[in-house]
Amino acid sequence: MPDQSDSSNREANSNLSPTRVAEPNDSISTEGGAGQVTSTQHLPETVGSSNLRTFIKRYFVVLLLPALIILFAILAPSTFFTAYNFETILTTNAVLIILAIGETAVLVTGEFDFSFGGTLGLSAAVVVMLITNLKMPTLEAVFISLLAALLVGVVNAYFVVKLKVKSFIVTLGMGTLTTGIGLGITGSQTISNPSKFLSTVMTKRIVGVGLPFFYGLILVAIIWFLLEYVKTGRNMYFSGEGRKAAFLAGIHVNKIRAGVLIFSAFTAWLAGMVMLGQTTAVDATYGGPYLLPVFAAVFLGFTTIRSGRFNALGTLVGVLVLAVGSTGLEILSVASWITQVFDGGVLIVAVGLANVLGGERIDSWL
């Protein structure tokens, strides 16, 4: 006879009420396939004790920022905790903020853009070559390089939306492709910035902080407002979290996906211009090292403020945590390789944190 020991428990627990037998809903779990009962029935958390925990979970990364500042201020009061140092941190991280905001918009919609480093290098290379070789006026050169960057975004969007290739793949290829073109344009040389105009615009300081930081802040504000208070922003989240449902509800999912890829190319171009102005010389590969910090910052931001959602303020905080952390470590005169260890470590820890702290959103994302 078949062994029934393990099924007898189930039988004892089950409700034998005969009226249940014929309910039409019962069909769902008996017929495999589409109708499986799959609803997750999380019970409401007990209110009260969880309030503080929820707060700490949600603002952990934000709280990390003052914590790091205090830590380094104690360890290196004379070098770290100075106005000059903070001005430098904000100024030198403008490029990171701008790139990370572009990537935030892309990740919100469920896509990836790995090509911003190449686009940045290409944009800078185009400007430099147009001015030095063709003696073009700066503004025209800058405008043409903007068109070149947007073209990169459009090609990305075409492959992703029209040809349905994963953005991960398309932009990975595009990043290398654009770096290569940039190297071709500059003859693989490091070229000094020929434009006085760019240098002036990008090194101007307001209250001691370089102008580009404020460009970054403006972008953060715009994207924050868009995601929170504009229909398109809401639809961007839907494109990422429930693309099929969004499509069937009549939301222009594809336009949104194309739009963010083009926007990301725009931010890469802007970052390229900032870099060109801030540094005395460029080469087409200068954007490459930003790949990791950008993702680390955006994922740190993902865990905070709008916990479990990529958001602009979170990204800003993420950038600042990275910047303070790596500057602090450098000031403590740990060797400069520490920056890479820190950035890489933060990316992994950020994602791990997201899982530990995170709400139900994070599980499905990472």
Binding site: P2, Q4, S27, T30, Q36, Q41
Partner: protein, 527 residues
Amino acid sequence: MNQSHSETTQPNALEVSHLTMRFGPVTALDDVSISINPGEIHGIVGHNGSGKSTLVEILAGTYAPTNGALSLFGSPTPFPAQSRDSSRFPVAVVHQDVGLVGSMSVVDNFRVNRFTTTAFGTLNWRSEKRLTRQRLESLGLEIDPDILVERLSVADQVLIAVARALLDLEEIRKRSEGKDQEILILDEPTSSLPSGTVDSFLSTISEINRNFSTTVIIISHNPREIMSLSHRFTALKNGKVVGTYITGQVDYTELAELMAGQEIKHNADKRVEFSSRSEKGGREVLKVENLIAQRIKGVDFTINTGEVVGITGLLGSGHEDIPYILCGSSPKEGGSIYFLGNKMEKLSPQRFRQMGGMLLPGDRKLTSGVPLATVRENMTMGYLDPYLKGRVLSKKSEHRSVSNMLERLRIRPKDPDRTLATFSGGQQQKILVARCILRSAPLVIIDEPSTGIDVGARDEIHATLREMAKDDTAVVVVSSQYEELPMVCDRVLVFQNGIISGELTGDQVSEEAILKLCYMDIESKVS
């Protein structure tokens, strides 16, 4: 009509007795006893949720039953899920989804796990391919073993799966010292076949049965298949055996009556009162003329404001495609669709929405709801206009509107900022239905509104749908659960094989009438 069938001296090929299967509080099979004669083709027929699939899963070894006994060819045998050595179990199951890997070749799929090797330990491709070719030819399939499975027609794929199952059975027979015992179970084998290829597939199965004296059990929701192929069949309803019958002795009308059974009355009190069924004469919202699509072979219907119209049919009859064709996400091959009198030239979900159409698809986790978004966001998805001041979203007014809706539909917890995923299935569905109320569109199409939800939530949703139709709205409920339609619909369109086999209005709407139209022999009526 009941058959007594144990007079023959030959033992039954397969016999299950007092088989019961419970999943928590749900009883999927309730004291089911079925005997299959050796060498026969035995049909198992039943509506959605009758327990057919559970029976197959138990015989395939997926579940161990809660209770019951099995005997094969006269000797008691443990169920495969309870047996230590199920590799000798002489039953092969070809599942609905066939179980082939599309990106691999025919020979790979055919011989997976059973490849023979040469003396050097390498795969013996030549003999494997020869074997594959031979086997397929014996079923009348001339196929290059190197071709990828995904490049074959669905009909050929199903046959490859059948051939593989037969080979399995043969190997089991060899191991069990050549006794001529084998049972092939086909679970809804024709559900994925294009309609033109079903007949030739069924005749192939008949031939296998005749030539190899294989006992075949065929599970199907399609009465025609059972009627044309089986020698005997067993009807299941709500997990119980209605009876076992000799195929030639039952006609389609009797079959429909069997499927309707006696238990149908328990829902009668929930039926829409006829006096409350709407008066005809609303404004025409939708007109469909001679619509043709993949599974739709030319249908006409109109939908008016103020009515709830049900669209149903057996699985695969085409009714399930209607919402997606209308909203433009599934292609239409012919015919015209008029929306509020305008002919819709190019259909797309965006156009559909702009014209005032609203679709609530059937999968809360994937196509209608966004589990990770909040209740507020889910409820106002695709229609934020009422909460915009200029172009800026007023979260306060959105929040207020959603809170009111949660109150009105008694959804707990009343927190608009929780994610949808934290609610139970029934609450989720109510939240999504609220999206339709907030939108107040002239046409609301809801696909499978009661899938996976409890009776209480279902009744509340039905009440909401009826209320919605009182306003200047037409509501279309597409459902494979025919039982719910009399509770909510003024009118029901029943699909069968891609055409409308009948339309029921007002007093005519009943479970019995719907089932009759589902099972009616529509082709013979036409000719």
